[in-house]
């Protein structure tokens, strides 16, 4: 333990080893909020969906919006982490772990939402007994289960060397670290096994992640509902998912950088690179949104136009234009301006993108349901206190689980940082040399 204090990466062990009053304070607030949301859900269990703002037209409200939103955020992790690892981007080292944790936690929360949305949750098992795979809803169940399993494995396997480090160098939770480290001692064979497993996982997890959000988009696009029946919904949803995930990752990075004093690990350059990614996805998202609306407007199909008008100039116009401002205008202004592109600027932009992407899910789901093809009276949807409480409960569970994780496991991959110092520099140099033209050959041609 004492020699740990002299470790150059002691900062990364500190959250696990040292007691923190702020942690206890935050945990109690979050537990209180979760307790309140559990109470509200129990009330819903007792009285049914009548305690929500859902009605005959709008049968999917906050719960499904949050489901799509949370599953979208989960793309932060595994996808970004896998792509950065695969492309051997050296700056990934302090980022990947946080990204992977976000995925695992958020998927769990997102996956619960369709169950919350059930009026009769006691009938849940019918999905397993009498499910029919022709339904996109069941595709969702299978895709999310697969993605959750894959991303948990993808979080855990690269964590094993760090768990072994904690087992050998700390006294806290030793039994847990012993159990989870599988006797890892860093022998060449063990390293080889982990590398091999990680290589397979990082390739496997990308198509799984893409398929999950594509399948979620199918819940909407496979119906003939106005505003939903679109061929670009798959890539549109995936782009939005990665966009909201990147923003969430940036917020988490900034928050924990401040909380655990990780300034030496999460440097400005990491935020600069991540913000470029955020800007790229902002532009991609805008492109998809523009295409989606342009084709709708040009087609001028009466029902489609009713939904579009409802969004652009009708009751949902304030949400729509806020979404455009938060997802396109602010990122474009802040992230292309050197003076504004500070960590504070990136934080504000990222929070804006998270809100904007949540609004996007709201705008996709609710207006199409309020303006049905059936001759029904247009009913507006106003979420109830129960729905708001469960939404806040979901966010609280995310914060609590992330906090607890940070107290048991390092938020930044210690072995990857050490490996980067020991071997990464040489490796990167070698790689760079391999990209450049061979100097002797070039000189020979000149002679």
């Amino acid at each position: 333990m004492d020699d740990l204090r002299h470790d150059p990466d002691y900062t990364l062990f500190r959250p696990i080893l040292e007691k923190d009053r702020r942690f206890l304070w935050m945990v109690s607030v979050l537990v209180g909020l979760i307790g309140w949301s559990i109470y509200m859900y129990m009330r819903q269990w007792k009285y049914g969906l009548s305690v929500t703002g859902l009605n005959n037209n709008v049968t999917w409200g906050f719960y499904i919006i949050n489901f799509v939103f949370f599953i979208g955020v989960s793309h932060a992790g595994t996808l970004i982490s896998a792509i950065l690892r695969l492309s051997q981007a050296e700056w990934r080292r302090p980022i990947t772990r946080m990204a992977e944790v976000i995925t695992a936690i958020v998927l769990m929360i997102g996956g619960i939402h369709p169950i919350i949305d059930l009026g009769r949750p006691d009938r849940l098992m019918n999905v397993f007994y009498y499910g029919r795979l022709q339904s996109p809803l069941l595709w969702d169940v299978t895709a999310i289960t697969t993605y959750f399993t894959a991303s948990t494995v993808y979080l855990y396997v690269p964590m094993i060397p760090d768990i072994a480090l904690l087992r050998d160098r700390t006294t806290k939770f030793r039994w847990l670290y012993k159990f989870l480290s599988w006797g890892y001692r860093g022998t060449e064979r063990q390293k080889h096994i982990l590398e091999r497993a990680m290589s397979i996982l990082m390739v496997l997890v990308i198509p799984v992640a893409v398929s999950v959000h594509t399948v979620i988009s199918y819940i909407f696009s496979m119906t003939l509902q106005s505003g939903w029946h679109s061929t670009i919904f798959g890539p549109y949803f995936v782009t939005g998912a990665i966009y909201s995930g990147t923003a969430t990752l940036l917020v988490v990075m900034i928050a924990f950088r401040k909380m655990y004093h990780l300034e030496n690990y999460l440097k400005e350059i990491h935020f600069r690179y991540m913000s470029i990614l955020l800007l790229v996805f902002s532009l991609l998202w805008t492109y998809f949104t523009f295409s989606e609306f342009l084709t709708g407007v040009y087609g001028n199909e009466p029902m489609e136009m009713m939904v579009i008008r409802f969004k652009l100039t009708g009751a949902y116009a304030p949400y729509f234009w806020s979404m455009v401002t938060l997802n396109f205008l602010i990122p474009l202004i802040v992230l292309t301006n050197k003076k504004l592109k500070t960590i504070k600027g990136i934080l504000i932009t990222s929070i804006g993108v998270i809100i904007g992407m949540w609004l996007e899910r709201l705008i996709i789901i609710v207006p199409s349901l309020t303006n049905t093809r059936l001759p029904l009276v247009v009913q507006t949807y106003i979420p109830s206190l129960t729905e708001w409480s469960l939404f806040i409960g979901g966010i609280s569970i995310f914060c609590l689980m992330f906090l607890i994780f940070s107290k048991v496991f390092p938020l930044i991959s210690i072995w990857e940082i050490k490996d980067g110092r020991a071997e990464g520099l040489e490796e990167a140099k070698g790689r760079l040399e391999s990209y450049l033209p061979d100097q002797t050959l070039a000189e020979g041609r000149v002679q």
């Binding site: 007994y129 094993i160 159990f179 599988w182 060449e188 063990q190 799984v208």
Partner: protein, 87 residues
Amino acid sequence: MTKHEKVTPQIVLFLQIMSISLIWVLVVSVIWWVLNLISLSNYLHDAQNATLAISILIMPLFILLAGILTYVFVGLRRNRFEDDEHA
């Protein structure tokens, strides 16, 4: 192991064997569920081809994931005392 440690290596080993077993229980359950869905679609003559296509995708994925985990767990445990030089 220090005097204060209550969890013996045998308990750790037991927990590890249990966790590998549980992973395979999950895989078998998923496969059983998918097979149940196939038989149901067959019985109802309802989108059998689509059911088969989706099932063909799901089952190997779960087997692959469990296989990777088993490979990692067993491999790490087996090679835990191996000297770097002899590896």
